[in-house]
Amino acid sequence: MAAPAKSANSATVNHPEAPTVPSSAQNLTIGKALNLGLRKAMEDDDKVLILGEDVGKLGGVFRITDGLQKDFGEDRVLDTPLAESGIVGTAVGLAVRGFRPVCEIQFEGFIFPGFDQINSQLAKLHYRTQGEVKVPVVIRVPYGGGIGAVEHHSESPESLFAHLPGLKVVSCANPVDAYWMIQQAITSDDPILFFEPKRLYHSGALKAPVDTAATPERLHASRVVRQGTAATLVCYGPTVQVCLDAATAAANEGMELEVIDLRSMSPLDLAPVFDSVRRTGRLIAVSEAPSESSITSEIVARVQQDCFYSLEAPVLRVTGFDTPYPPAKLEEHYLPDLDRVLHAVDRAMDW
């Protein structure tokens, strides 16, 4: 099933059956769903604060916090000094005081000045104090590539945080999850790194009805987003759509791929993946991040152990290369796409 010619593009988006839309549902992009989710969280609990660079009048460079400062005031939506350690470090202190700070990091490449506070305080304070001190801080991080940007604006550093005990790491891949997961992250008493697939923020193709009266999925649960039998694709954030596209293409050639959206990268909810692999015997893990010592490595390590006798081929990975993110003119090569995913499926099938 090797695709000798690259597919023209990813327009063949696979949408799950549109549910009957109840009156409480709105048709939203991921960006707008996040905005509404944040608004809802702020309405529900006046201890919820937003901190970040340009989150006020500007509404953030991606407009995810649009209108919030206007409605909730400057004491709840803070345009902070330009210092990420300051953003995380003061958020920790605010949390100790009883607030629920939601930090925005402008682009994932700028989270690193805050890494020390994340590692040394945010992740460990609860453990250090044996649960006496809670730090319910959410750090929102727009991440991933494909937006034609300059350096530091397209990376996928989530694996670093998955390696740090004490943190939880999640990512949403559609508007419904965006709306609910951000609220669940805010109400969670754990510090959560919330990775947002930035190139999908304003994707009209992904617009979906969000039923604000529905009961959401658990935050740290993975989900089968397409059922299949031949092989399993596991992915999260921006690569979910890539995998769904690949599955559609494969289906056109008569091969049904199962696609699992991890949603939570730490802790991993791999039970559905194990189930799936026991049926399909083949797994491909797909992520934009470099593969070395990463979340995809971890998935492989756990699947080969739990599904040792089920695997008919080694678990393969389709990821960003182990290089810095290249100049964006080259990102189409760097980023996993439908063709590379299908190529890996072929390799797994032929093993």
Partner: protein, 407 residues
């Protein structure tokens, strides 16, 4: 004598270079690096000889300190020193993994710690056992950290005394966020009801002033008018590095560049530290924060029990500072003014001995934590992955027990 007004137009650290358009390299080095002399700006209410120096500005802040209060401060100083020495000794005896002595810094810690009201919040570094004591933390509760059986176990909310922070500078931003929270909650600047006001104090060392986090704390606190007292104990050394490895100017002058008050107080003068900290906390509670206090003091012992100061400093230096001992001057003052007699001093010594004995007894009997503690409270909400790890490990351990192994 310095005054709070001065922060607005502070003197130069040294005059040598002050008028030189292009100071020579020697001038720069000799003139600007007056980081290790107390200097003319040092605020002092009680001299090393035990003389009370009048201060129109700060006297009102210690007007309530009569002989009785002074005796209590003396008692605090002695007990804290005694406890520190006992812990140091217990480390030598293998009861603690390490100890971080505060010897010499008692006045800075008790003076500032006693300036706090119950509602105020304190963020320590790792050497603030005296502040913890002043906050009502049982000294015993500090030992677990150094015995390596816990990482701090007092009631943080009740005592308003945050866990120790070991990564230099981190706590400054955490304290700043906390203080911002006090302000957001309207606990600052209530003119009718001062009892409703709160402030935060944050402790750090001379070495810490170089860290980015401390700077960011200064920026944030200034921008948000946070009710935060930055309390820098300049004990002259960051392990083996003297203050001139961190700064050309006296550290209290750092505040100049941010637009808030910076003051240097004799850190070995408990009365001075009390007064200046009260002044600063008041400013914060009134909405005029932040304030930087540099308590000019000296680390009379090693950095920690694993350190060997003879490699980097001469004993002369210590001898000179012994003359400025923070406890001796209070004793002399009390004695000279008839504020206390020999019985009192004997009683305090006895109380300190008892305190130490109790500490010792406690320490020798501290239980080790159980293995499952490794897995506790990593998260506030469950993580099935970690739960599985715990179960697997505990049943592995059980295997030894069942097999009658040595555990």
């Amino acid at each position: 004598m310095s005054s709070p007004e001065q922060w607005a137009q502070p003197d130069q650290g040294a005059d040598a270079a002050a008028t030189a358009g292009q100071p020579s390299a020697e001038q720069v080095i000799a003139g600007l690096r007056a980081t290790t002399e107390g200097g003319a700006d040092l605020i002092q209410l009680l001299t090393p000889e035990g003389e009370r120096v009048a201060s129109p500005i700060f006297d009102p802040y210690v007007a309530d300190v009569d002989n009785e209060s002074l005796r209590e401060l003396y008692r605090d100083l002695v007990i804290v020193r005694r406890a520190d020495r006992e812990a140091n000794a217990m480390q030598r005896q293998g009861q603690l993994g390490i100890w971080v002595p505060l010897l010499g810094q008692e006045a800075a810690q008790i003076g500032s710690g006693r300036a706090l009201r119950p509602k105020d919040m304190a963020f320590p570094s790792y050497r603030e056992h005296g502040v913890g004591y002043a906050r009502g933390v049982d000294f015993k509760e500090l030992l677990g950290i150094f015995r390596c059986s816990d990482q701090g176990q007092w009631d943080f909310a009740k005592h308003r005394f945050h866990p120790y922070t070991i990564v230099i500078g981190n706590q400054v931003l955490n304290a700043c966020g906390y203080a911002m929270g006090q302000k957001f909650e309207g606990k600052v600047g209530n003119q009718e009801n001062d009892g409703d006001n709160e402030a935060t104090i944050c402790y750090f060392g001379d070495g810490a002033t170089s860290q980015g986090d401390v700077h960011e704390g200064f920026v944030w606190a200034a921008v948000y008018d946070a009710p935060l007292v930055f309390f820098c104990q300049n004990n002259q050394w960051a392990i083996s590095e003297p203050t001139e490895r961190q700064s050309r100017l006296p550290l209290y002058q750092r505040a100049r560049g941010y637009g808030f008050p910076g003051m240097r107080v004799d850190g070995n003068d408990v009365l001075g530290c009390l007064a200046v900290t009260r002044w600063a906390l008041d400013a914060c509670r009134n909405g005029n924060g932040p304030v930087l206090i540099e308590a000019f003091t000296y680390r009379m012992d090693a950095h920690t029990t694993t350190d060997d100061p003879t490699r980097y400093r001469l004993s002369d230096e210590l001898e000179a500072w012994k003359l400025k001992d923070p406890i001796e001057r209070v004793r002399v003052h009390l004695t000279r003014n008839g504020g206390a007699d020999a019985d009192f001093f004997a009683e305090v010594d006895k109380a300190a001995d008892d305190f130490a004995a109790e500490l010792r007894d406690f320490c020798f009997n501290m239980p080790d934590p159980p293995p499952e503690r490794i897995f506790s409270n990593v998260y506030a909400e469950p993580s099935p992955v970690l739960d599985a790890q715990r179960e697997e490990f505990l049943s592995y351990l059980d295997g030894f027990a069942t097999a009658g192994g040595e555990r």
